[in-house]
Symmetry: D2
Subunit: 131 residues, 4 copies
């Protein structure tokens, strides 16, 4: 199960008054992770939507292990952990670059929808690339 | 020039590590202000988009007078300050409810676009209601 | 187990190009839910932080049942589902006001930290009010 | 007047239902721009705050020239346009990498505050580096 990496630097906007990254922002980092994974597989998500294939999130989970701070460089590690008939699951681990501390880990489950936003099986050509 | 009001309570998410509302969020409050103004004029923006009329922001400005904190109730006061052939300008003042302190003031200028996202004159029926 | 409610109207900012509320925003709605629950219990979270008691999220989960759209009024229903020595768990259900559709449900688990951001037992006076 | 550059890729979260980057997010890109400018001048903003020097935004302006889309790579060009006794102004231009289209341009004015969040003159050692 290959892991794909993308880095992001924590923006001031992403902090809250506790002085750490606000928890919901980790799900935005997860989105960056799966975007890069799909791009590296040759399936940019922007292209999928142009073909009217949509992958909305139907379930999301995160454990916050250690706080991240403003200006930290975070490494988002993403892999595909489950590929079913009509759903897809990504696993994520977020690590701080400078001390390799594990910051957070989680998953998202996505459904496949067509142009009418109805659930469909994941198209075969996608499935092959995702395997 | 009538002024319309809507209130919002500052979310933890909207604060930053300075312990105050992050500056870009005031433009989100401005959006809430113009949404309510249009609704009260009988022109819910959600209806306009269903008729394929779009009003993207083409210019925005804000002066930040005094910081707002988590859990503050803010009053967003909105008025139309300019109605031209193809653009519309809103003025905003944001006041904290409990001490009536002026927190911020600004404006946004919006263009009118059609379904192809091309600039068009503001439709006459809208113009009448906006005057 | 009492449930507390707070409403919010979906902002344009909270939508994404799929035309629905971006998934991470539901965790912001969850934050609004627990803020109101604590306020109604007489424990405004803003007061807790003034006494240097912090409740960062250590785990979060959400199932997205049905999409929410711009301008929808959402009802956030929050209850305390677990009260342990040093952690606290909130359950959330999000329902659209006009059709009572269930939009999302989830939980967050929070740790209790002191001024040095070290884990501490939940103070007794809080525990009583939370029970 | 030297210009500093930093790139960012548009996140799905940053789009709205118009299918373009939501306007307030450009002010977040501006924040990334000034963060990088200060870092390259040897004054990381995270270090300034550790010395209890804060630079909140007191005025912000943006003209939105052309829409940006999901997955676009944007180049944020930042320069210092005004250095006064107690305030500092940054100018920004945002350009899309692939077609060099000008997307937005604007400025932010920042005040200098001390540990008590009171306005102070910009410390001399900073001023020298900023000139």
């Amino acid at each position: 199960m290959r892991t794909y990496e993308v880095k992001t630097r924590v923006r001031y906007q992403e902090t809250d008054q506790m002085g750490i990254v606000y928890y919901a922002n980790f799900f935005v980092y997860f989105e960056m992770g799966r975007t890069e994974l799909l791009r590296e597989l040759g399936l940019p998500y922007s292209e999928l939507e142009k073909e009217h294939i949509y992958f909305p999130v139907i379930e999301a989970h995160c454990r916050f292990r250690s706080p991240a701070q403003y200006d930290d460089i975070l490494i988002i590690q993403t892999s595909i952990s489950e590929l079913k008939h009509a759903t897809l699951k990504f696993n994520y681990t977020i690590v701080r670059e400078n001390d390799r501390n594990r910051i957070a880990e989680g998953f998202t489950k996505l459904a496949c929808l067509n142009v009418n936003r109805k659930p469909i099986p994941i198209p075969e050509k996608l499935k092959k690339l995702l395997q």
